[in-house]
Amino acid sequence: MTTITSGPPEISSSDYYLLDELLTDEARDVRDRVRGFVDRDLLPVINDYWDRAEFPFELVPKIAQLGLVGSTISGYGCPGLSRLAAGVLTRELARGDGSVNTFFGVQTGLAMGSIALLGSEEQKQRWLPGMAALDMIGAFALTEPGHGSDAVRLETTARRDGDHWVLDGAKRWIGNASFADVVVVWARDVEDGRVKAIVVGKDADGRYPDGYSADLITGKIGKRAVWQPDITLRGVRVPVENKLDEARSFRDATRVLTSTRGGAAWESLGHAIAAYEIALAYAGERQQFGKPIASFQLVQHKLAEMLAEITAMQLYCFRMADLHEQGRLTGPMASLAKMHHARKARQVCLDARDILGGNGLLIEHHVARHLTDMEVVHTYEGTDSIQSLIVGRDLTGISAFT
């Protein structure tokens, strides 16, 4: 077969190699459900929230109705998605908006992921069903003001006092943590120096325990529609049964992060697709020098490069999902994808913004939102530098972190 057909593929302008044909029925169903939500419910309202730096609570029940919270977790009211379907879910959400995707990712991958991976049966029963229904919101508190890339050196302490753990310290950039019902706090046990995960919850009246306070970080220029506050913990007392049973060291936090890292790659892909589609549509409509700017060589060159990167990112992601499903995806393999995709998607968003000219600076065209949201992705879940050092260590056997 050497036939090459001309004209754009029918399915989607960004799916040049018809890769979505490789999706399973399950993944295709997830794609369509999320895409429907994004196009119908999210895109019409998100820019206003983003502009005002408000969290779109009105979308929460609609997200719950998708029945996808909990993603790959099986049981406990969760959908038990395949890794491929979970990746497509992230891609499609990010194609809509980065803030909402982060809300979803914190809930599903980090908070519920910690409990599913490290909680006892009783703990899973206690929290996961409510979280899957979005009746309870989760947060994941690892990063600290002084410890971002070197979270391994976190300073928040946990001290056992009778039937309670007492938490002291500070956390930063903790998504959802100003209203979450379940905050997974990573703290160092003063007894053995090991890092444990302890859940801070609200009481029956919906109040946080004394000593817990969350202050919104304001003035963000990316992911403005998700709240990522500073948290202060001053002698916060938590019942002993809130310590996640299987969280015994920092390594366990790393296990959770490794499983979400691939998500950041899918998320980057979603942003790149959104930016590319916006730029392509704009280039076809916008007239300069008496013709659509899509007829200029320099514009076509940019569009072709963007599509080349997106296609490569798709292939990476599909293969990553397969390997993850087979239990063969290593942490460094996920790091390679996160590093690569964040870098490339950032460039795709920049080029897309450029094609829109001055209009690209206006929120109504969406592309600047994706561009600045990608700056967040470039940093969180392990920076570009950190991912390259993780891969570098894996390649050479030599750790170069310090």
Binding site: F296, Q297, L298, H301, I398, A400, T402
Partner: protein, 401 residues
């Protein structure tokens, strides 16, 4: 072609009449004596001994040195000459750098009066050739790990060791060899014991073998030197250099010339691509009429103009006597990196014709791969600058501030 094509920002206005006169003279020399032959020299991997004498007559050797038959020109003038020579070929500019900035400047800076009288006039005339032996098979970016050793004996010195990538060594009359010694601080081990020696290449035990085949820098010679029981008189040592400061100060001279030279190669590649783009027709129009071609040409002009400004400012600082070695790293790193990118992009404008020796860009690009590595790799210059702006040296892995 338009007037802006060659000097977009009127950088010529920044040079004095004397500087421009010298520049034009060297440009004419390159036009007459190098360009007609360079494809053949490159193809045959040949360095013309005769061209060395012609460069001596043209007052291009040891240009920035004074006395002893040297021309005594300014740093900016030396830079302009390097730029024009490298517009011809990096191999020819390399010859001038090795002869003038490395070998002659080592003797000029650190030699005794006798050394200077004996060697410099002949070297300035191109009658005698010098080379400079610092790099070793196992010591490239880290010359302090050199193992060549000079032992002080009763009536002089005995040298043992090996050097690699030494320009001109197979045709040189004298080699400046840097070696650790059993004298001074850190005798025999530490970098502080490093001294320089003038080794006439007919001394028994000295041998040089050209490294070939090379894929770039084919019109110049680089060689491997072995030193086996090389006996030298006591006065063979350069009296005024101790430790790595000696060779490093010579490298600074050569690095300075390179930042100009790289822009010469880039300019020549750009001009070749521009001329071709105006002449070559596809789809009924000159390819210079295509947006994508214009973008490539414009990107080249941007970087060439900036690179020449960097070189000029560096040269003015050098002439004022205020240039710091760390500042040289900026120009070497930037200008060579950009020059390679320009030459490679120029090659793409030429299409298939760009892979022949009828055009200069790919020859320049291949040459510049050597230039990128020698006189401090990208990585080393990055770390020199990194240490300069942070105060934290990061040359060794796992360094803790």
């Amino acid at each position: 072609m338009t007037d802006l094509a060659h000097d977009y920002l009127d950088l010529d206005g920044l040079f004095s009449a004397d500087e421009l006169e010298l520049r034009d003279r060297v440009r004419a020399f390159v036009q007459e004596r190098i360009k007609p032959h360079i494809a053949e020299w490159y193809e045959n991997a040949q360095f013309s001994r005769e061209i060395a004498r012609e460069m001596g007559k043209a007052r291009l050797l040891g240009m920035h040195l004074s006395g002893y038959g040297c021309p005594g020109r300014s740093a900016v003038e030396y830079g302009l000459a390097a730029m024009e020579l490298e517009a011809g070929d990096s191999g020819l500019r390399t010859f001038v750098s090795v002869q003038g900035s490395l070998a002659m400047s080592a003797i000029h800076k650190f030699g005794s009066e006798d050394h200077k009288q004996r060697w410099l006039p002949g070297m300035a005339a191109g009658e005698l050739i010098g080379c400079f032996g610092l790099t070793e098979p196992g010591a490239g970016s880290d010359p302090s790990s050199m193992t060549t050793y000079a032992e002080r004996v009763e009536d002089g010195w005995v040298l043992h060791g090996a050097k690699r990538w030494i320009g001109l060594a197979t045709i040189a009359d004298v080699a400046v060899i840097w070696a650790k010694t059993n004298e001074g601080d850190g005798a025999g081990e530490g970098a502080a014991s490093i001294r320089g020696f003038l080794v006439p290449t007919d001394t028994p035990g000295f041998s040089a073998t050209a490294i070939e085949p090379k894929l770039g820098m084919r019109a110049s010679i680089q060689a491997e030197i072995t030193l086996t029981d090389v006996r030298l008189p006591a006065d063979a040592v350069l009296p005024d250099a101790r430790g790595l400061r000696g060779p490093f100060s010579c490298l600074n001279e050569a690095r300075y010339g390179i930042m100009w030279g790289a822009m010469g190669a880039a300019r020549d590649a750009y001009e070749d691509a521009l001329a071709y783009a105006l002449e070559r027709r596809q789809f009924g129009v000159p390819i210079a009429a295509f947006q994508l071609t214009q973008q490539k040409l414009v990107d080249m002009v941007l970087e060439i103009q900036k690179g020449v400004l960097v070189a000029l400012q560096t040269g003015r600082l050098k002439d004022a006597g205020t240039l710091r070695p760390q500042q040289i790293s900026l120009g070497k790193l930037n200008n060579v990196r950009e020059a390679i990118a320009i030459c490679r992009e120029a090659r793409t404008v030429l299409g298939g014709n760009g892979i022949t020796l009828d055009h200069s860009p790919l020859r320049h690009a291949n040459n510049l791969e050597s230039v990128r590595t020698y006189e401090g790799t990208d990585e080393v210059h990055t770390l020199i600058m990194g240490a300069a702006i942070t105060g934290i040296p990061a040359f060794s892995a796992g360094h803790q501030p």
